[in-house]
């Protein structure tokens, strides 16, 4: 019995010893940038010389909820190795008596990101790596466009499931998306899976060769979504309870969603405007482009366009993976991020 207790005590001491080495952090604060207070939530391990600054995708979605509900399941994976700073972009959920609509632009979002990078570098003395998921990648892109070739304000950038072409780009509909369907159809035919179905898809897209009507778009969607079933994140009761009752801002304002809708509309309009603007990136800090093989939003087929536009990029295409790579391939994604950080 005494031996059993002793063994338990030793294992407990060992456990606390291991944990005491990790500089775990969980902080919530606001950063004032040009009179606007950005809510910032930092969680993870400060042992790494790097810190990730995450930019949420989805036009007007909140990254604070994304993090606090642990939607990407990084709390027990990625955050064990590195601290991640999450923030809500300008216009969302905080006290906003009036929303300065002139400042809901990607150019301003890029400036905001750089201001937050400066703050985080001063506060934590870590090298900051930007990581944008989906539409959040646009803010990262516009932050990079404001840096000179040799600027080292940011240590690197990760584009997670980010499209290069915009929703208004003819290239997306005439080139990228038809090529994506042709390629996956050929892959399935080559692997002998549902060959009749994929031959039909290949014949259809070869003849159509352009996604130019809503009907064609629906058919393209039907084919591409049948290629892969993405992982679903279960929304638990605890997750909902935490978001509603212990969130760091007013839940009714978020549920009312008027500011989210406005931000969504303004960014959508800005995307249309920027389609005609050439935004060159000269900054040579390393960039990682990650997407899923079956990501029908950020198709692997357009990552080459990204590589042409941004210097010093590396592409990782994750197999059996859709648009939410952190849910579909968490291990491979973490490996890709670790490998990238080691290479910086």
């Amino acid at each position: 019995m005494a031996r059993y207790i002793k063994l338990n005590l030793i294992s407990l001491l060992f456990f606390f010893q291991i944990n005491s080495y990790a500089q775990n952090i969980k902080e919530y604060f606001k950063v004032n940038v040009e009179g606007y207070e950005f809510p910032v939530f930092v969680r993870g391990n400060l042992d790494s010389e790097f810190m990730l600054l995450f930019v949420q995708g989805g036009y007007g979605e909140t990254a604070i909820d994304f993090a606090r509900s642990d939607y990407p399941k990084w709390k027990k994976t990625l955050e064990k190795e590195i601290a991640i700073a999450y923030f809500d972009e300008r216009g969302l959920n905080q006290k906003v008596n009036t929303i300065d609509t002139a400042k809901i632009t990607y150019e301003q979002y890029g400036k905001d990101l750089l201001a937050l990078v400066k703050h985080l570098k001063l506060k934590y003395n870590r090298k900051i790596v930007l990581m944008g998921h989906s539409e959040g990648g646009a803010s990262v892109y516009y932050a990079l466009s404001q840096l000179t070739e040799t600027d080292t304000t940011i240590a690197g950038s990760i584009f997670l499931n980010v499209t290069y072409t915009s929703d208004f780009s003819p290239k997306r509909y005439k080139e990228v998306r038809p090529t994506y369907l042709k390629n996956i159809a050929r892959e399935f035919i080559g692997a002998g899976k549902d060959t009749a179905y994929w031959r039909e898809a290949l014949n259809w897209i070869t003849v159509t060769d352009s996604i130019h009507t809503p009907e064609i778009s629906r058919k393209w969607n039907a084919y591409t979504t049948s290629a892969f079933t993405p992982s679903k994140r279960k929304i638990g009761l605890g997750m909902a309870f935490r978001v509603i009752f212990s969130r760091p801002y007013n839940p009714y304002k978020y549920l009312y969603r008027k500011d989210n809708e406005l931000v969504d509309d303004l960014l959508w309009a800005d995307e249309r405007k920027l389609e005609t603007v050439s935004t060159e990136i000269t900054n040579r800090q390393p960039v990682l482009l990650v997407t899923g093989r079956y990501d029908d939003i950020a198709c692997p087929e357009e990552q080459d366009l990204f590589q042409e536009a941004i210097p010093n990029t590396e592409i990782r295409i994750l197999p059996d993976c859709g648009h939410e790579s952190f849910l579909d391939q968490p291990v491979l994604l973490q490996e890709a991020i670790n490998h990238f950080l080691e290479s910086i």
């Binding site: 919530y28 604060f29 606001k30 950063v31 004032n32 940038v33 207070e37 006290k95 906003v96 008596n97 009036t98 929303i99 201001a115 400066k118 703050h119 001063l122 506060k123 509603i244 009752f245 212990s246 969130r247 760091p248 801002y249 007013n250 839940p251 009714y252 304002k253 009312y256 008027k258 500011d259 406005l262």
Partner: protein
């Protein structure tokens, strides 16, 4: 600014009007914004009018009805978001049965000042400095309350009540911002009466 001017006039007028009368009760309550964000509210009640009415002529049960003006101050603490401090005059219509059970419905109009915690900025010397941030709000509230007057059965000159309420603070995007709050409190009588 026009909100604030109107509000100051309203609160001052209400307070002066109320001071002419003697307060009939003092109330102290837990004030929970979204139930779980704790706060405290203290108020003085001034009975403007009271009368008796029969609920049903067959039972001869008497219902005491009253219109009460109360001047309140309070605060709530929402960690990481804001601390709200408010002055809130309320007007309510209340009806109480012979067992001492009462229910009320009412409206309030007042002022709220919020204090936002943990705001930092990088100053010109490249140092991180804490800044003080907050907002002024024109506050409105509508509520119902359910309670029991303990003086009826137990001869204790106080009552207990629960008061769910919707608060609406202006300005905010697009017009105002809604809060739900729950008050649970006691009401101590300062004068002997019904």
């Amino acid at each position: 600014m026009q909100y604030l001017t109107a509000l100051l006039i309203l609160i001052t007028t209400t307070e002066i009007s109320a001071q002419i009368k003697k307060p009939t009760a003092i109330s102290v309550s837990y004030f929970g914004e979204t139930i779980t964000h704790p706060g405290l509210k203290i108020g003085l009640d001034y009975e403007l009018k009271s009368w008796d009415g029969n609920k049903k002529k067959s039972t001869q049960q008497t219902i005491s009805k009253s219109i009460i003006l109360s001047s309140n101050i309070g605060f709530y603490f929402h960690q990481d978001y804001q601390t709200g401090v408010f002055a809130l005059p309320e007007l309510r219509y209340s009806r109480k049965n012979q067992k001492g059970n009462f229910r009320s419905v009412g409206l309030g109009v007042g002022y709220m000042r919020t204090f936002i915690p943990n705001v930092y900025e990088v100053n010109t010397a490249n140092e991180i400095k804490r800044t003080t941030e907050g907002n002024n709000y024109f506050l409105t509230t509508c509520f119902v309350a359910f309670g029991k007057d303990l003086s009826v059965k137990y001869s204790i000159p106080m009552g207990v009540y629960i008061k769910p309420q919707i608060m609406y603070a202006l300005p905010n995007y697009p017009n105002g911002v809604t809060y739900f709050a729950l008050e649970i409190g006691i009401n101590y009588k300062l004068t002997s009466g019904k």
